[in-house]
């Protein structure tokens, strides 16, 4: 079903860009993309091939290079090296044309508190060359889509965090872009507002065939929305595939054994690694993470082995592999989510 939808979107994209070879079409394509800030290599050689009409999740913790990548692809930053094409256009040679075809909602909802929501969308539409009735209709339509009709004529400074994010999303869509970049669209939002944003993003892909490039530090968000996913750490892509493929690549269940005595953790890992069937063991956040097929049966063997070795065992958990396990396996540490001081929200 998803493959058929993707093929349909590729056909529409190829028709729009008049590209003769479907196989070579990427909505977003990059090779060896690098960005240095003085001595810091914020992005260190990224390759991307994102199919039209898909939601591409770019998962990583703060400072991993997600935002720098998005700023290069959206023409806000010049790459130090490498090349990229968005909707078939070079981000350096055709920067203005690229901006015409993309919508962008950056991490901080970039809004002007003094304007009203309607004024902001109207100005945005004008700057994209939309005029007259078409502009007015589009603004009204978007205000309805993001449930801001009642607040449309209030100053943006009076909006809640969730309302600002929804308005920012509407501003990114005002000129009907084929590709939209969303930089951590739900960071700092409460669960209700987060759910609302997820609903809109999903609708963009499913109903409108828009390609979505979504950066996130939330595993659940990536798992739920993304058709295709890349994990970025220290400026490099370290894993790539659909969420299901990534989790399947772990190939085992995950048994997490907490050891209350800190200096017993290394020995616990050694003992667990010697248990029959265990494929590998990692230490993360005060626990031994044991990768083993058929975890339900193996857990008893692991606990007995630890007990025989005189190691005190705390909580024990068994789970199917999650994206966090994929992240842990690829980076050696869990994904650390950094929230703003207070979650904002208010879906109303």
């Amino acid at each position: 079903m998803r493959l058929a939808k993707t093929r349909h979107n590729i056909s529409k994209f190829a028709e729009r860009t008049q590209c003769p070879t479907l196989d070579s079409v990427s909505a977003i394509w990059a090779r060896g993309l690098v960005k240095h800030f003085d001595e810091v290599r914020a992005v260190d050689g990224i390759d991307l091939d994102i199919a039209p009409g898909t939601i591409f999740g770019f998962l990583g913790q703060n400072g991993s290079g997600k935002t720098t990548t998005i700023r290069m692809l959206t023409t806000l930053l010049r790459p130090t090296a490498g090349s990229a094409r968005v909707d078939g256009l070079d981000i350096l040679d055709d920067a203005r044309a690229v901006r015409r075809r993309i919508g962008v909602a950056l991490q901080e909802a970039g809004l002007d508190d003094i304007q009203t929501g309607r004024e902001l969308l109207t100005l945005q539409a004008r700057l994209f060359g939309m005029g007259g009735n078409a502009r007015r209709q589009r603004v009204d339509e978007l205000l309805a889509v993001v449930d801001l009709e009642d607040a449309a004529d209030r100053a943006i400074g009076t909006y809640s965090g969730g309302m600002k994010r929804r308005l920012d999303l509407a501003a990114a869509l005002v000129h009907r872009p084929g590709i939209i970049f969303l930089d951590e669209p739900t960071t700092g939002l409460d669960p209700v507002s987060r759910e609302a944003i997820w609903r809109y993003v999903n609708r963009l892909s499913v109903e409108d065939g828009i390609t979505v490039f979504l950066t996130t530090q939330y595993l659940e968000e990536a798992d739920r929305l993304a058709h295709d996913l890349a994990i970025i750490d220290e400026g490099r892509i370290i894993a790539r595939g659909s969420p299901a493929e990534m989790k399947a690549s772990i190939g085992t269940d995950v048994v997490t054994v907490e050891v209350p005595v800190a200096d017993g953790l290394g020995r616990a890992a050694e003992v667990a690694a010697g248990v029959a069937g265990v494929e590998r063991v990692q230490i993360a956040d005060g626990a031994a993470v044991v990768y083993v097929p058929d975890g339900a049966r193996a857990v008893a063997r692991i606990v007995l082995a630890l007990d025989d070795a005189g190691i005190e065992v705390g909580d024990v958990g068994i789970s199917r592999p999650s994206l966090d396990d994929v992240f842990l396996e690829a980076t050696g540490h869990h994904l650390r989510v950094e929230e703003p001081a207070a979650a904002e929200g208010g879906a109303a």
Binding site: T74, T75, L76, R78, R96, A97, R99, R100, I102, V104, L106, Q107, E108, A109, G110, L111, D112, D113, I114, Q115, E119, L123, Q124, R126, L127, F128, G129, A155, A171
Partner: protein, 253 residues
């Protein structure tokens, strides 16, 4: 998107911001008028004997105008920084609008605000019997000059805002005009200055802008003064816009 249309839309947006923040505009007009009243009150009665200036109130009107333009452009620099800090400047850069036009929109709004504030100061001056020797057409020339000076001077603050992104630096940038005003013929004619100050006043472009404005108010039409004033404003504009576009290029590279 045509550059002129972009400038127009963003000028309207900046003016709307000014209308919705009236306290700031009151401050921009109050301070120059306060110094105008204090200067005229303290020196006005001796100006005729000391400097040979009969209409000292009219002599001081241009100083109030330039001070007001300076205040306006300082607040506009802060507005640019607010846009940068909120991320709204990035939102504008992400449109296909020419980037130079995005900056020029706010600068042009400063020019419009300078025209409005000049009109208020001229009316206050007329109430204090400054007269206006070149009549209605002279007022129009003065307002046009204020527009071009307002935009030219605003460019310096836009450059500081774009280069530093710092509210403190932008506020300091607005003070650039004050030493130039004190080193000009703002309070007395050049002839009464010490030699070294005469040299500085002669090379100071503010002297020529003040003299052009004064000629309209208290002397009558004087083509040479107007040409010198126009040349000084153009020089200001070339310098400030060059710095602005260099700062914009730095910010977007």
């Amino acid at each position: 998107m045509q550059p002129l249309a972009t400038v127009y839309f963003l000028t309207v947006r900046s003016l709307r911001e000014a209308v919705r923040n009236p306290a700031q505009e009151v401050g921009n007009i109050f301070v120059p008028l306060f110094f105008f009243a204090v200067t005229v009150g303290s020196i006005g009665s001796i100006a005729a004997d000391a400097f040979g200036i009969d209409n000292f109130t009219g002599f001081q009107v241009p100083v109030a105008i330039l001070s007001a333009a300076s205040s306006i452009s300082a607040s506009a620099g802060l507005g640019t920084i607010t846009d940068i800090q909120r991320g709204y400047f990035d939102k504008l850069l992400l449109t296909p609008a020419p980037r130079s036009a995005i900056v020029l929109g706010r600068i042009a709004a400063d020019g419009v605000r300078a025209v409005i504030i000049t009109g208020v100061i001229v009316v206050v001056g007329l109430i204090f019997r400054t007269g206006f020797d070149t009549g209605v057409f002279g007022v129009i020339v003065l307002l046009a000059g204020s527009f071009f000076f307002g935009t030219a001077y605003s460019g310096f603050n836009a450059a500081v805002a774009l280069r530093t992104g710092s509210p403190q630096a932008a506020a300091a940038g607005g003070l650039l005009l004050f030493p130039l005003i004190f080193l000009s013929t703002a309070f007395a004619p050049k002839e009464v200055f010490a030699d070294w100050l005469q040299v500085l006043a002669t090379i100071n472009p503010i002297t020529y802008i003040l003299e052009a404005q004064r000629s309209l108010i208290i002397e009558g039409w004087n083509a040479l003064d107007l040409l010198r004033g126009a040349a000084a404003i153009v020089g200001f504009g070339i310098a400030s816009f060059t710095l602005t576009f260099l700062a914009l290029r730095w910010r977007t590279s």
